[in-house]
Structures are given as structure tokens and as C-alpha cells.
């Protein structure tokens, strides 16, 4: 049986007259890595700070490991929540060595067990040789690892990570992402991570909450968010894609200028409304034999693949990926394309209806 380590229900937070968080619900199971994903200012860091206990909530409640820690009338202080935090700038104490930093959170224990714990943690991240170094003497990646094991030393019920990769350069970031995921899984720790970068979220998290304007729009796996977005913003925020106008017949046939997407009687109820369908670049395949032609507007070479920007007859622009080995079409020439849709993500307004489709 899995149990919830973190339960956030109906949380609201405001700063002055600005509503920063509204009706936020979230459940994270033991051992799960959850991610709060959103653009800056969406409230993700505020939510993390509410969970940590640095901010009090205006409404709703936060329960950690069965204990209610935040509500309108209650604020258990951060030090009594048994929550570990890895800060964006790591916040390593500059006047303490690596070992002293790690020992800080367990300073009440007896010296012998402290030193045992510190050396086993250092060993787990291969930093034994740096135990007497000061934080300034470490590389960015090493600082991050120290910050991580310092947070894990008191064996927290829940680990919070605020933009853990934003201080690392690109090449290091790839490596650290893999390393962090492996470490979190090996410690078996339940974690909540905040990021604005979808690749980080996709790489590390088991489940992702996409946030906008203080609300969680969708909560699910990376696959679900990308292929079955339930919200216009989620569809736009994750990956590229276009919204192509579609017509729905009274029988439930969904037609676009690139052909029929699906034939589903259960959709009949939505006929007569203004609809559009999400097309990801990988939903469109180059096919010279196809009867549907589009004019090439621009070609961007990306190394592994190339991106064609195509203008349809209606004037709508769409994108299509092809392997970079494939024969190039010239700008202004016509190119044959066909649909290869697995999920029909149909929007009427802000919210989406998702149907599985058998690609033809």
C-alpha cells in the first residue's frame, strides 16, 4: 500500500492584495518525485515555501506524514516539520567546512554517530576527499551534492528542491539531472522539485504539476501532460504545436483541412461549437505521396533533425520534423504531408477533450 507523504488541499496564499496561490490541491505518494512546473511568477516557489513552513497559508491545509502543519490558524515552524530543503543557491554556510555543513542539521546527536553519518553520506556522493573543504572551493556540481546530503542528513520525511539546476551550466546540468534522479531513488526519498524547465521536469519527475497564475492546471505524468493536455496553457507551455481549426459533424466526425482526425459518436454532443485540434510537430509526417500539400516557409537545421515551417492552404502555419538525412525541400516549394495522430486533443475554449485515435 502506498501512502501520501504530502497532502495539499485547497491552499490559498496572498501577498498584499495579490492572490499568489488559489485552490491548490496536490498529493505526493511515498517515494515519488513530484515536480512543480511553470513560468516564473506562477506561484510554484511560493507553494514550495508554504510546504517548507516559511510562509503561512491563507486558506486550506498542508499535511505532512499525517500531521497537519499549515492551515489558516496553524503554522508549524520549518524546524519542526522534518522537511529537508535544497535551496536554489544551495545556501551552504560559507564559514563551515563540508563536513560541518552536513553535520549542522544533526548537531544534537552524539559526536560519534554524527561523524559516522557524515562519512557515509559523503561516500554516497563520492565526496569523501572534500570533507574539509569550504563550500567556495567546490565546483557547482559538488556544491549541489553537498546541499543535497546536508538536507538528507536529518532523514526528512520529505525533500524540497527549489530550481536545483539553475546555478549549473548546460553541460553539467545534463549530468547532474541523471545523478540527482539516481540519488533520490537510491535514498528512497519523497521529493518535490520546483522548476521552470520542462526538460528537467520530464527527466526527473514521476509526476508533474503544471502551474499558472497560482493554480495547478494539470497533474500527471510527463506523457500525459504532453500528449493528453487537458488545458490550452498546458498544451502551449509544453513543447511546440499549433491549434488547427476543426469541424465536427453531427455524427461525431472530426474534420480538418488535413483530413479526418477521428470518427467518434461520443463527440457528437460537442458539434456546433467552435473547435480546434492540437497538432504537435511529430503528429505530422512528410509524405511525398500524400494529396495534402503545404508550402515550405522556412527550414531550420537542428543537427539531429530539421524543422519545416509549412503554410497550409488556409494560411495557417504548422511545423513538421524530419530526419536531417532526408532529402531537403526548398523554401517556397510544395511538400506532401499527412497526419499521424495518436491522441486527438480537441479544444473548445480553454479546456481539452482527449480521445485515443488509431493512426491511419
Amino acid at each position: 500500500m502506498t501512502r501520501n507523504v504530502l497532502e495539499v488541499s485547497d491552499v490559498a496564499y496572498s501577498y498584499g492584495s495579490t492572490q499568489v496561490l488559489n485552490e491548490v490541491d496536490l498529493k505526493v505518494e511515498e517515494g515519488e518525485i513530484a515536480c512543480l512546473l511553470g513560468a516564473s511568477g506562477c506561484g510554484k516557489t511560493t507553494l514550495l515555501r508554504c510546504i517548507a513552513g516559511f510562509e503561512s497559508v491563507a486558506n486550506g491545509m498542508i499535511v505532512i506524514n499525517g500531521t497537519m502543519v499549515s492551515s489558516k490558524t496553524r503554522l508549524v515552524p520549518p524546524e519542526s516539520r522534518n522537511v529537508g530543503i535544497v535551496f536554489q543557491d544551495y545556501a551552504l554556510f560559507p564559514h563551515l567546512t563540508v563536513s560541518e555543513n552536513i553535520a549542522f542539521g544533526i548537531r544534537q546527536k552524539d559526536p560519534e554517530s554524527i561523524s559516522k553519518k557524515v562519512s557515509s553520506l559523503l561516500a554516497s556522493v563520492n565526496l569523501e576527499s572534500k570533507k574539509d573543504a569550504y563550500p567556495q572551493e567546490l565546483s557547482g556540481g559538488q556544491q549541489q551534492r553537498v546541499a543535497l546530503i546536508r538536507a538528507l542528513a536529518p532523514e526528512p520525511d520529505l525533500l524540497l528542491l527549489d530550481e536545483p539546476f539553475s546555478n549549473l551550466d548546460n553541460s553539467l546540468r545534463e549530468k547532474m539531472k541523471r545523478e540527482l534522479k539516481a540519488l533520490l531513488k537510491s535514498f528512497g526519498v519523497t521529493a518535490v522539485l520546483v522548476t521552470h524547465n520542462q526538460d528537467e521536469a520530464f527527466d526527473i519527475a514521476d509526476k508533474i504539476a503544471v502551474m499558472q497564475q497560482g493554480r495547478i492546471l494539470q497533474w500527471g505524468s510527463a506523457y500525459q501532460l504532453y500528449h493528453e493536455p487537458l488545458h490550452h496553457f498546458v498544451a502551449e507551455f509544453l513543447g511546440s504545436g499549433v491549434f488547427l481549426p476543426a469541424d465536427l459533424t453531427t455524427e461525431g466526425r472530426l474534420e480538418t483541412e488535413l483530413g479526418v482526425i477521428t470518427d467518434d459518436p461520443s463527440l457528437a454532443q460537442y458539434s456546433d461549437t467552435h473547435l480546434s485540434i492540437l497538432l504537435r510537430p511529430d503528429d505530422i509526417v512528410a509524405d511525398d505521396k500524400s494529396t495534402h500539400k503545404a508550402r515550405v516557409v522556412a527550414i531550420a537545421f537542428r543537427g539531429m533533425y530539421q524543422v519545416y515551417s509549412l503554410r497550409l492552404e488556409s494560411g495557417k502555419e504548422i511545423q513538421c520534423f524530419t530526419s536531417s538525412h532526408e532529402q531537403r525541400h526548398e523554401v517556397n516549394s510544395m511538400m506532401g504531408i499527412r497526419l499521424a495522430v495518436h491522441h486527438a486533443v480537441i479544444f473548445s475554449g480553454e479546456n481539452a477533450i482527449v480521445r485515443h485515435v488509431n493512426p491511419t
Partner: protein
């Protein structure tokens, strides 16, 4: 379940102490302003008609002369040192700050001694047949001395300004066809205005606060007027009323200063410090000569003359310095430790438990830097004297013995007065240091169960120990150099080095005064050099 709104009872005590410190710090200002409610002294008519206009004219005249002088010298030095490379630049960059270590009244009496009719300058001139003589005891003489003693403020801040602005703007101006000499007036000077104005407001406050130099040059400014009203007319009320006029003038400067400080960041481009242009030939000689002349006038000549006088003194006089020095050191230690402790409280209340009014309160707590020592003395004396008599009566009733004057008859008043005056010095150091520490550090510590005093002890003081040390040494030097406040609040016949210098030069005993002056200057110089090394 806890049904209270989240609150922090610990923070309440911190905030309360901040407000208490602020209240004590502004009490002298309030006292001085309230003095108009007291019955007018019988001297007021005479004073208002004959003396007051003279005080106003002298004070404002001196203010203008010193402002113009320090502006020209400080700004030109700041520009030369920050933009050009010439022989001696590295030495002068630091050495031109040395006058900060010597009190203006010391530079003042040395020049008086040098230019006395029987002094070395005119004796020397007469010996080669030049019978020319002028008297330095004029407003121009006082301005000359104050300019020599205060130009380092303008030099230091405008140099900082030029460095912050960066060469990129000057290069851009050159590229747009502005000649290199026009760059200074068209680009560098206008952009440096915020730094220049902050420096000039400091110079203004120091000029108005000066008592020692003006009184030996017999220029009656407000500081002297306040002293005379108190000790000449024995009228604390009149002194307080005069002080309140000075408070209003200084208040104007403080507001000007706060506005200018806010503007200083508007141009800052970081990491753009270009290379200094190397000067050759005549230009290099002119720059070297200019720096050299100022260094000689403001530091070398006064120090040499002091040493010449001091070396002629008997051992007996040096022995008598022992008690004065220990009094000064005692006062310096008490004030610097008290100020640093209180400033830690102010700075970390603001950091940990801030409320909108806390910033206001800590600003109020550091207002004393603007108050001339004579104003502070009178503003402090009146309430302390009132409290003293109550306290004495109370203890008398309780124990049956007369404790004497516990507040005004002991060093208590001196320590409190100097602490109020130099709170800003410690606060600036500690506030800047805590700003460099990320707020996440506090949160990390709190997450591990360390808050309040414990967090200060484990995290903040170890991180900011250099600022703590700087605060202690700067306040130490400032408080032993301070003269009028110590003179006016000290217990009867209890002297420090600075007070003794004033007493001796009032009697024209320049050679004797050299002994305490040399000790003071060495202490000041040592701490300046130590801090300079630390800053590098």
C-alpha cells in the same frame, strides 16, 4: 490544536529593543527642539540681535568655503587617481586618505603654530629678509584646515563613483566625438553627481559639527555659540535653542543626503573597469606634483611638526599621558563594544523580524551621526540631569545615603553620547555585511532548528566577523578622536587625550599638546592601515 494566528513572540522582544534604541537616539533631538517651550533666557535679546547673525554668517560662510575647497580637491584627485596611471599613483591612492586619521583640530593647531609670528615659517622668512606676515586666525584659515582634513571624503566617494560608472561610458563618449578633456565635464561629472553630493553632505555635517578647529581659529560658528551660551552665559536653555537651529540646518543636509544615496545605483554597470591611461612627461609630473603637494600639506607637514614638538618634551609629560591614554582607551572600548552590540541587535532585528516600521526605527537610531557633538551634548545633558536628580532622591529615600550624580557626574553620559553619535558608523559596516549574505542561509539554518540568537552565534557573526571587527575599530577611533561631546559631557576634571589637546591649545601650549596629539594620530593611523589591508 493551536488556535492562535501564527505569531513570533521572540520577534516582539527584538522589535521592542530596536524601538527603545531609536527612542534613546532621537531623545537629544527632541529635547533640543522642545527647548523653545522653556522660558526664554534673559540673554536672548542681546544674543538674538548681535551674536546670532554672526553665527549664521560664519557657519554658512564656512560651509560654502569648505564645500567648494573639498569639491575641487577631492573631485580632481578622484578623477586623476581613477583614470590615469603615473609615478606614485598606487601610493597616493591610499596615502591621500591618511588625513582621515588625524582630527581637524590637530591639523589646525599645527598650522597655527607654524604660522605664528614667532613660528618657524615667519621666523624663517624674516631670517632671509622677508618681513611679510599674515594671521591665520580667520575664517579662511579655518576653512583651509577643514578642507585639508575633509577632502578625503570627497576623494574616496567620487573615486568609488568613477569606478562604479566604469570606463565604458567614457569610451562611448570618446567614440561619439567628445574630446578627452570634455569627457570629464560632459559625462563623468554629471554621472558622478550622486556620489559627489553624498560626499559633500558628509563634509557639510562635519564642518557644522567641528568645534575644535573653529574655536582655535576664533571663528564663531554655531558649535562655538552653543558652547559659549552654556559655559559663558550658563544658560543651557539658550544653548539648546541655538542647537535647535543647527538641527534644522543639519536636517536639511540629511534629507538631501538620503535622496542622493538612493540615486547612486542608477548608472552602475559592473565588471567594466577598463585600463587606466598611462601618463608621460609633463602631464605625469603635474599629476605627481599635485598629489604630492596635497599629501605634504594635509599629512606630512602636520605630522613632522608634531613629531618635532613631541621629541622636545620631557619624560615627565609623557608619563602624565598614561592616565589620559587609559581614559581614552577605556571610553573607546566601552563605546565601540556598546555600539557594535546595539548595531548587531538593530541589523538582525531588521533581518529576522522586520516590520515596515523597523527600517524607520533603525534609521532613526543612526541619526546621531548628523548631530554636532555640541548639540548632542546639550540635548543629552538636559534630560539626564533631570533624571539624575530624581534618581538620587529615590536612592536617598531608599537607602538613606546620597549616591551623588550617577548619570551626569560619571562617564555614563560620555559613553551614551558618543554611542548615539557613532551608531551610524557601526551600523553601516554591519548592515552592508548582512546584505551580502543570502536570505536562504537563514532559512537553511532555521530548517535545521537554529533561529534568533542561536543563529546569530552559529551563522551570522562567524560569517560577518570582519565587519564586527571593523565596526569596533572604527567606532573606537572615532570616539577617542571626538572632542566637543566628550568635553561637554565628561565628569568634572576627568580628561581624555582629545579634551587635553583642546585645553592645552586653548592656552597656546602647542608643544605640550603635541604629546597627546601624536598618540591620537598613531592610534588613528594604525587602524586605518589595518582596515585598508583588510579591505584589499
Amino acid at each position: 490544536m493551536n488556535s492562535d494566528k501564527p505569531s513570533d513572540p521572540k520577534g516582539r522582544w527584538w522589535r521592542l529593543s530596536t524601538i527603545l534604541i531609536a527612542a534613546v537616539a532621537i531623545a537629544p533631538i527632541v529635547t533640543v527642539l522642545l527647548s523653545w517651550l522653556l522660558p526664554f533666557s534673559e540673554h536672548w535679546d542681546h544674543f538674538g540681535q548681535t551674536i546670532l547673525p554672526k553665527l549664521v554668517v560664519n557657519s554658512l560662510g564656512l560651509l560654502c568655503l569648505v564645500a567648494i575647497g573639498t569639491c575641487v580637491i577631492g573631485l580632481s584627485l578622484g578623477w586623476i587617481i581613477s583614470q590615469f596611471d603615473f609615478p606614485g599613483r598606487r601610493f597616493f591612492q591610499f596615502a591621500l586618505l591618511f588625513p582621515l586619521a588625524i582630527p581637524a583640530y590637530v591639523i589646525g593647531f599645527v598650522y597655527l603654530g607654524l604660522t605664528a609670528f614667532s613660528g618657524p615659517l615667519f621666523t624663517g622668512l624674516r631670517s632671509i629678509g622677508v618681513g611679510f606676515f599674515f594671521d591665520m586666525k580667520t575664517i579662511y584659515g579655518a576653512a583651509f584646515v577643514l578642507v585639508l582634513s575633509l577632502y578625503p571624503y570627497v576623494y574616496l566617494l567620487t573615486k568609488q563613483g568613477f569606478a562604479t560608472i566604469g570606463h565604458r561610458y567614457f569610451e562611448a563618449a570618446r567614440a561619439l566625438g567628445v574630446s578627452s578633456s570634455q569627457v570629464f565635464f560632459k559625462v563623468a561629472l554629471p554621472m558622478n553627481r550622486p556620489w559627489l553630493f553624498v560626499a559633500l553632505s558628509l563634509v557639510g555635517m562635519e564642518t557644522l559639527a567641528d568645534f575644535g578647529a573653529v574655536s582655535i581659529f576664533v571663528v564663531d560658528t554655531f558649535s562655538v555659540g552653543i558652547y559659549k551660551a552654556w559655559y559663558g552665559f550658563f544658560s543651557p536653555t539658550l544653548a539648546a535653542q541655538l542647537a535647535s537651529i543647527l538641527v534644522v540646518i543639519v536636517g536639511g543636509i540629511v534629507i538631501f543626503d538620503k535622496v542622493q544615496r538612493g540615486k547612486r545605483s542608477f548608472v552602475s554597470l559592473t565588471g567594466l573597469s577598463g585600463r587606466r591611461r598611462r601618463l608621460h612627461g609633463r602631464k605625469a609630473i603635474i599629476c605627481f606634483g599635485y598629489c604630492c603637494t596635497l599629501f605634504l600639506l594635509s599629512f606630512v607637514i602636520p605630522m613632522l611638526q608634531l613629531l618635532v614638538w613631541a621629541l622636545q618634551l620631557d619624560a615627565e609629560i609623557w608619563e602624565s599621558m598614561l592616565e589620559l591614554t587609559s581614559n581614552s582607551v577605556l571610553i573607546g572600548l566601552m563605546v565601540s563594544l556598546l555600539v557594535t552590540g546595539l548595531c548587531l541587535l538593530l541589523v538582525y532585528t531588521y533581518r529576522f523580524y522586520s516590520r515596515p516600521f523597523i527600517w524607520m526605527a533603525s534609521q532613526a537610531a543612526t541619526l546621531g551621526y548628523a548631530l554636532p557633538g555640541s548639540v548632542l551634548a546639550i540635548g543629552l545633558f538636559l534630560p539626564l540631569a533631570a533624571m539624575d536628580h530624581r534618581l538620587a532622591d529615590f536612592i536617598m529615600n531608599l537607602t538613606g545615603t546620597d549616591p551623588g550624580l550617577l548619570l551626569t557626574g560619571t562617564v555614563f553620559a560620555v559613553v551614551i553620547g558618543l554611542s548615539i553619535r557613532f551608531m551610524a558608523v557601526g551600523h553601516a559596516q554591519l548592515h552592508a555585511a548582512q546584505q551580502r549574505v543570502s536570505k536562504r542561509i537563514d532559512e537553511a539554518a532555521q530548517n535545521f532548528g537554529s533561529t534568533g540568537i542561536d543563529q546569530m552565534k552559529r551563522i551570522h557573526i562567524p560569517i560577518a566577523w570582519k565587519a564586527v571587527a571593523a565596526s569596533i575599530s572604527l567606532v573606537f577611533v572615532d570616539s577617542i578622536k571626538e572632542m566637543p561631546l566628550t568635553l561637554m559631557t565628561r565628569p568634572f576634571s576627568w580628561d581624555t587625550l582629545s579634551v587635553k589637546i583642546f585645553e592645552l591649545i586653548s592656552e597656546g601650549e602647542w608643544e605640550m599638546a603635541a604629546a597627546p596629539a601624536v598618540i591620537l594620530s598613531i592610534v588613528g593611523l594604525t587602524s586605518l592601515v589595518l582596515l585598508g589591508k583588510e579591505a584589499k
